[in-house]
Amino acid sequence: MSLLHLAILLPLLVSLFIPLLYKKIRSVHTGWFVLLVPLTLVAYFSQFLSQTMAGKTVVATMKWIPSLDINFVAYVDGLGLLFALLITGIGSLVVLYSIYYLDAKKEALHNFYVYLLLFMTAMLGIVLSDNMIVMYLFWELTSISSFLLIGYWYERERSRYGAQKSMLITVFGGLSMLGGISLLSLLSGSFSIRESLAAVGTYSGDPLFTVSLVLFLLAAFTKSAQFPFHIWLPDAMEAPTPVSAYLHSATMVKAGLYLVARMSPIFAETPLWFYLVSSVGMFTLFWGSLNAVKQVDLKVILAYSTISQLGLIMSLLGLGAAALQVDIIPDSLYTVATVAAVFHLINHATFKGSLFMMAGIVDHETGTRDIRKLGGLSQLMPVTFTIATIGTLSMAGVPPFNGFLSKEMFLTGVLQVSESGLFHLDTFGLLFPFFAVVGSIFTFVYSILIVYRTFLGPKQLDKLPKKPHEAPIGMLIPPLVLVSLVVLIGLFPNLLSNTLIRPAAEAILPKVIANGGTIPVEIKLWHGFNPELFLTILIISAGTILFLTLPKWRSLYHRMPKQFSLNHQYDALLSRGERTSTAIHDTVMTGYMRSYLVYIFGFIVALVLSSLYFLDAFRFDVNPLSTVHAYEVVLVLVLIGSALSITFARSRLTSIILLGVVGYTVALFFVLFRAPDLALTQLVIETVSVALFLLVFYHMPEISRKEERIKFKLGNAAISALVGLSVTLVALASLSQRSFASIAQYYIDNVADLAAGGNMVNVILVDFRGFDTLFEISVLAIAGLGIYAMINFRKTGGIDK
């Protein structure tokens, strides 16, 4: 365990003490203690910058399950470090913001910060793990912490709905990733990403490789809310705003992008990867921006905007995959898409984080996020207005903010790849610029919409639940920090190019570096009069026209039939699932023990007889059988007689007594075979269980056996006969064949030497196979407590006390 591991696990460790701090120190907002964690981590992770800039990586290994090749390998390269800094940097701002956003007196802060810290560890774990199983573990942990945070206000119905939806969709993706990991590790022989990459040439032709690729992409698309899995993100907006700003715009939803970037070197040479990533991303960009315009909730607009922007970055990563076709492109011309992806990822975190915080401020100070009720707040909240303006203009791609720069690079990347003729793009390559431009136009429209409907336009203070005023300074500092970054990066983009962007891009495109190429990261504000500039002018002018004519075409959105919407499909799928499982449950679970016994025994018979038949396992050998004595014949006759009479017994009491006869006869067998321990146990067990049966049957309802239908009885008779048959066959077969030597001799030889005992049976119980006994008494204890709980539960009338 190195310092690096400790850094990743630090939030988790601190979270253990949060409830204590919350309970003991009520005068200080718990957030102040939490704030120290991301601040420490930012400082810690920044010291790796010099190493990643030099192209070096840091690896630290902690043994976890070495026998299964699962070790916690922390691996820091440009890509991982970029994400780690985003997670801890935005994390610090969000925690600071939450201190003012969440009221210390009214809110369950201990829950909130424990979940948030859990998330922080999970996210750091994803981006800094080299072992895919460990990465998967952290991946699912982000889904769980996101679920808990969305459902933070769990008494609200919408929160629970949103939490469940995000959980179902992202965990589905996580499980498919587990499938992808299993396949990939089977092919490459390792769970390590680096080792899998090193051996990629040897197995990339395998058909399972493509399956693994698709499974990995499913995980990335669900996590990063790509079409058609994007529907969980708008519903996740029920979470407190700091959570939306942190998980659902800056970090967790980017885990999918991280996965695509991380796996790119392995998968990107397959054309399918290029097609899927770039076209799904591009369509999501278009679809998200189109849907953002029709929303009325400020946070939901931002959610759709996030979906659209994630699509943009995703498509850039897909287009960047073209650069790995090094045979075709000797110079690294196509690296611009990857550089743009990394650059936009940073930019998006800054402007979208500030916009979410802005939405939170508006919600906090006015009591609503509905843009139909808001308006004219610019005079009342001038600082928030400034934040919103800079953030949205950057998002819309207006110069001189950072969003403009990455949007221009995005257009460059799209134009270059569509002209390249790679992957038969000459035929439908034109679709890429088309979707890119249309998506950007709608992005412009909703960006303006956010500012206009909230801060400009007519004032409607009477519709607001609260009298609005400017937010406290603590809530303004975090978004102000972010928008100053927006301006700073916009004016001096090359501050980032060598420190963060180039190391990250090199990690995504290692092959370009390995082939001696370089990744040029020169970002300029002014490119001259090139196609990108004209496209930007086109986007801004078309966007303005669309915005001005919005009332006229807005009604088109309502034309789309509701039953075709993805949300409707999702709800229908859930309710259908519930109905089907209820129907199955109601038919199978009758509430009668005898039905369940029929299922259980029927299944056992089917399993045993079919395996005996298909595996040809039945053998019968007379040799190992010993001679049969007269005593034994008599006992067997008694056994058979009493067992048969049970079936004809009229009352339960008679049945129990006859069953007791069976048990005692078996005990006599043990006496005959000189097994005193077993005989003793069998005798006592029979005695105690007869007493127990008497007690139980006293409480059973009076159901006569005659009430059962004759068909049911025949079925029972058949099953019991078959159970008897299969047990007999298995006993005979196992007696007649031995695959390996009996362990009995080992026990006989060692009982005195190793265990210092004389009674082999008991020594086996407490020493040789003590584990078995330990688990048996655990099961016994659980069963006893279970019976106690069930019966007392019934006594209270089903109410949990």
Binding site: L680, V688, L692, L694, G757, N759, V761, V763, V766, G784
Partner: protein, 146 residues
């Protein structure tokens, strides 16, 4: 069918024989428990025999009488038994031995003379307590649930 745990008036023989038979059974159970390592017996059988002695009291008298004689919470007995077993098994870890390694030695005890003491017996004590505890918890719970 009559309630097996209600007090009946005409059980004089059963009641009076129970009063001393119970002790004999109980003593036998103690014997079985200690004899386990060398001759037939052990914690599991000892526990069952003890439980059957208690069940006999229960059948001859009723649940209230049993409770007056032995005011024990059998759920706690189960828990204590589990604890003893797990702790005995993990005790080996303190001596840097694998989980469940038993230790034994011979001691000269007053009254008993040379005696073998074995940690397996502690583990067996846990088993004994769990068996008695669970059996009696189940019987008592079902018997009381009127």
């Amino acid at each position: 069918m009559k309630n097996p745990i209600k007090k009946h008036t005409n059980d004089v023989i059963l009641e009076s024989s129970t009063t001393f038979i119970t002790f004999i059974i109980f003593l036998f159970a103690v014997y079985l428990f200690f004899a386990g390592h060398y001759t037939p017996g052990g914690g599991f059988i000892g526990g069952l025999v003890t439980a059957s002695a208690l069940v006999l009291v229960l059948l001859a008298f009723d649940i209230k009488t049993l409770r007056q004689i032995l005011p024990i919470d059998y759920k706690q007995m189960t828990a204590v038994g589990m604890l003893i077993s797990v702790l005995t098994a993990s005790g080996a870890l303190l001596f840097n031995k694998p989980f469940f390694t038993h230790a034994h030695s011979y001691f000269n005890l007053p009254l008993f003379g040379k005696t073998s003491l074995h940690t397996a017996m502690l583990f067996d004590l846990g088993v004994y307590l769990v068996v008695v505890g669970v059996t009696m918890t189940i019987i008592q719970t079902i018997g009381e649930s009127d």
